[in-house]
Subunit: 315 residues, 2 copies
């Protein structure tokens, strides 16, 4: 039996590392678990942004500039929808739309989100398994200066502008963790769990909020290695740093570490970071975490696995 890697991921930052991992781990040995707290229903369609980003990135179909959606995309649908007075704040490309329409159709026909994801990602040529953290709906909601907001309202419609006071994962308490995740965490051949450089607050913690996942993670014998999405006090993409600050925490690699402290063995921080406090140093590893090219993605994947496989990876 070969050793297995479990990767927990949100959108583009996590997906880049997941792609890197897919180059250095056999497809059957990689289980990518996606946050579905960003999922929502829009225009009658079931949209799963993180699953979609992972699917497109792993299929090589993603738009590298935007960080979401498909490359070579066209927007005729969106233009026509605007002319009809429809809602256009959430951009859906013509090709991307097919994924949402087909997923929605299959969900309504009774398939689980897992089944739909497996079928459609396979059709697009994705080899490793991408699974939602749960087949039950979990919806991230944010208490802000403008009241409680649905995630995409906050994230896309309001461009993350309202200050975040509190984050709630609606539905998480009664959601069932994906059985493949729990099985992988319990399996004797688990090599490592990788927490991808996604936003801890809204990409990884929704996964951890699903009952059973945090406990199973805490109990794994294999090393748990996270990659900090914060470099030099800022996030490469998205509101990670801003949200940390709004919640009263100075955004830093250390803050990421403290957030994961009881779960991880090692935090991989960017090589440009100032040293972390002495007590954390034995559990940090430095690497180039900014992934501009495919080579960067692969190199970070190798660094993460080296950290997991190396000495001192289990505290």
């Amino acid at each position: 039996m070969s050793a297995k890697i479990v990767a927990l991921s949100g959108g583009i930052g996590g997906a880049k590392l997941a792609l890197g991992l897919s180059h250095v781990v056999a497809p059957d040995d990689l289980l990518i678990v996606a946050n579905t707290g960003d999922d929502f229903e829009h225009l009658g369609l079931s949209i799963s942004p993180d699953l979609d980003t992972l699917t497109y990135v792993l299929a090589g179909l993603d738009d590298r500039e935007r960080g979401w959606g498909r490359a070579n995309e066209s927007w005729a649908f969106m233009d026509a929808l605007g002319a009809l007075g429809g809602e256009t704040w959430f951009a859906l490309g013509d090709r991307d739309l097919a994924l949402h329409v087909e997923r929605t159709r299959r969900l309504k026909a009774g398939e689980t989100l897992s089944q739909v994801t497996a079928t459609l990602s396979a059709r697009l040529g994705v080899k490793p398994a991408i699974v939602p953290m749960s087949d039950d709906p979990v919806r991230t909601r944010l208490k802000t200066a403008r009241g409680w907001l649905d995630f995409q309202d906050y994230f896309v419609r309001l461009h993350c502008e309202p200050a975040v006071e509190e984050i709630f994962f609606a539905g998480a308490a009664s959601a069932r963790p994906h059985p493949r995740l729990i099985a992988a965490l319990h399996a004797p051949d688990l090599r490592a769990v990788v927490i991808c450089p996604s936003n801890p607050l809204i990409s990884i913690e929704p996964i951890l909020a699903v009952p059973g996942i945090r406990t199973a993670l805490a109990a794994v014998k294999a090393p748990v290695v996270a990659v900090s999405p914060i470099v030099g006090g800022a996030a490469l993409k998205g509101p990670t740093a801003k949200m940390f600050a709004e919640l009263g925490v100075t955004p830093s690699a250390e803050a990421v570490f403290r957030r994961y402290e009881d779960l991880i063995d090692i935090l991989v921080v960017d090589e440009t970071e100032a040293p972390l406090p002495t007590d954390l140093r034995p559990r940090t590893r430095a690497a180039q975490t900014i992934m501009r090219t495919l080579e960067d993605r692969v190199a970070l994947a190798r660094a993460v696995l080296a950290a997991a496989d190396g000495p001192g990876s289990r505290i």
Copy 2:
């Protein structure tokens, strides 16, 4: 009060005449009533082909070559859907898709099909009112050599190939006629009812199958003028002639007349047609019914109105 025209129409053949009428009748004086027996749910979307064709034609957005959908259309969605293994037998252009998505969203939000049609056709610049024959669902089904088929299965997926033995308008018996149609038929200022050159069997008769419409039509004081969609024993488009033959009736202008006999005052037949039987001749008018250009559409509209307004238009 100005005199009103009610036009009953199916898809492209009827829509061409409706466009002609819209050029010679004030927008407020024209009520276009669409067959909704072709409507269906596909890919989770509520699709109303005849309403859509009428909307696109009246808005000047229609594709003149195909006879359905929008001009300057692109097919990125359809290509992507095919790559995902989705159903591609019913072609939905990227721009056209916006209409179905927005209609579906509005219907689910509780709007009636009439309200949706009014809002969206107005957004596209359509001036005359286009209304569905009913806001209640009616679904044309066909008994064929291959069993009972839903309309679009027969019409699009199977290219009208199976021989038709029987036609049934599911839901018609409990459908309520559109109140604007009934009001217009009862109004003292009704100038004429025009039955457009659509397939009598599957475009006009679904309308007539909605309780109250046939009775109201039979009672109108204003002339009822139909235009034969059959010229020289064939239909310009669609399966009209083939279906007549399969149902044991030689396809001809006469057959159209017999089908409508108890409802219409006048049948406009193509100028190239051989004379109809003597008993029908006083109730026929000849005109160029083949509408290649906008001028043809306007000329036929004028001929139809002249037939309605002229002597001998009420039998």
